[in-house]
Amino acid sequence: MNTAMKFKSFGTGLAAAAVASVLAACASTSVRPAGAIDARARLTRLQSDPALASRAPLAMQTADAAVRVAERPEADPDLEAHRVYMADRKIDIARAQAETRLAEDQRPELRAQSEKARLDARTRELDLAQSQTSLAKAEGAEQAADLQRQIDLAQARVAGSNLIVTLGNSLFSGDGTVLEDSSSGDLNRLAAVLDRYPDRTASIKGYTDDTGTEHGNQARSQRSADSVMAYLIAQGIAPDRLTASGMGDSSPVATNDSAFGRQQNRRVEVTIHTPESVER
């Protein structure tokens, strides 16, 4: 009897377990695995996009691992939902990083197109330009004086035949990443100078202080240089006259041991190159 009872209760337990597992299966099929399946599908789409697949390998790996965790059967519905949420976010992060990288990789091609368009325009306008040569010569002396005035206006110094304009930390938000609305004064002056002297090119270099990781600083400095470049292009400066690079914390101009020094180090330097024709 004892055995029979045990057997019976065992049977009941088994039945209950079966019901529970069926219920669980129903519940999970109707909600969470759907989330994990969806996440897997989105990740696969990203991984099979030839333009993006190889561009953020680390983030892709992280996303893949997160999807695998989300696919694991889990009794706790909250935990399962959490895992799907994390997987979704990691996939989106991987996609955003890959798209960023793609955009950066497209720059040389865009630069070449811009250069070609400008060259074509120049060729076509050569006659017109030649007729204006005498006028341009007369402007030469005025140009020099004008540049000198810019030196007084902005934080600028002469290096050889080039002019280096320093855009201070105050022009950038937070740790020097993006332009604030209030920044337009100095930047507009810079844009005006470049607009006025179309034969001059400018290299934009972003710098940070030594707070944070080297990788983060490099990315941040590239972002600030990029944002200055984007601003100047928006002001009508041809992209092929501009280059933007992030120098990280490599070249401090002041000590990184004080807040004031670090503030000096967070900056963007724009070098306005004097073309050979003007140099002579």
């Binding site: 990083q97 865009l110 984007a230 992209p239």
Partner: protein, 122 residues
């Protein structure tokens, strides 16, 4: 013996439930750090929804800590970190692509102007 084991397990489980686990301070700290980084990258302007989600999840995580619900707090903190990291990544994405759009726009303007001026009899 089996019963004893089961009983012990029961006690063990009860103990685990009764004693409050520590707050997931490291996870909360990571979320705050990620949100700070996103804010500095101007995610408020370029990825406001993601940044808002990060803040909301962090607030919910803090509330879960006050309610002694540490497992939930840890998940919410991790979700907040992921939100914030996504905000930062999307911001970089938007900015990198806006540079490219400006370059394309500028080239297109130049090409159009040239076409127009070459069409003009001079």
């Amino acid at each position: 013996m089996l019963h004893t084991a089961a009983g012990l397990t029961g006690i063990f489980v009860l103990c685990a439930c009764a004693s409050t686990p520590p707050a997931p301070n490291a996870n909360l700290q990571e979320a705050r750090h990620a949100i700070g980084a996103a804010e500095q990258a101007e995610a408020g302007r370029y990825a406001p929804n993601e940044l808002r989600a990060a803040r909301a999840n962090l607030a919910a995580a803090d509330a879960a800590v006050r309610a002694q619900n540490m497992a939930t707090a840890q998940r919410l903190a991790d979700e907040s970190t992921a939100d914030a990291e996504l905000a930062t990544a999307r911001t970089a994405d938007v900015m990198a692509n806006s540079v490219n759009s400006e370059m394309k726009r500028s080239t297109a303007t130049l090409t159009n102007e040239m076409r127009r001026s070459s069409g003009d009899p001079q």
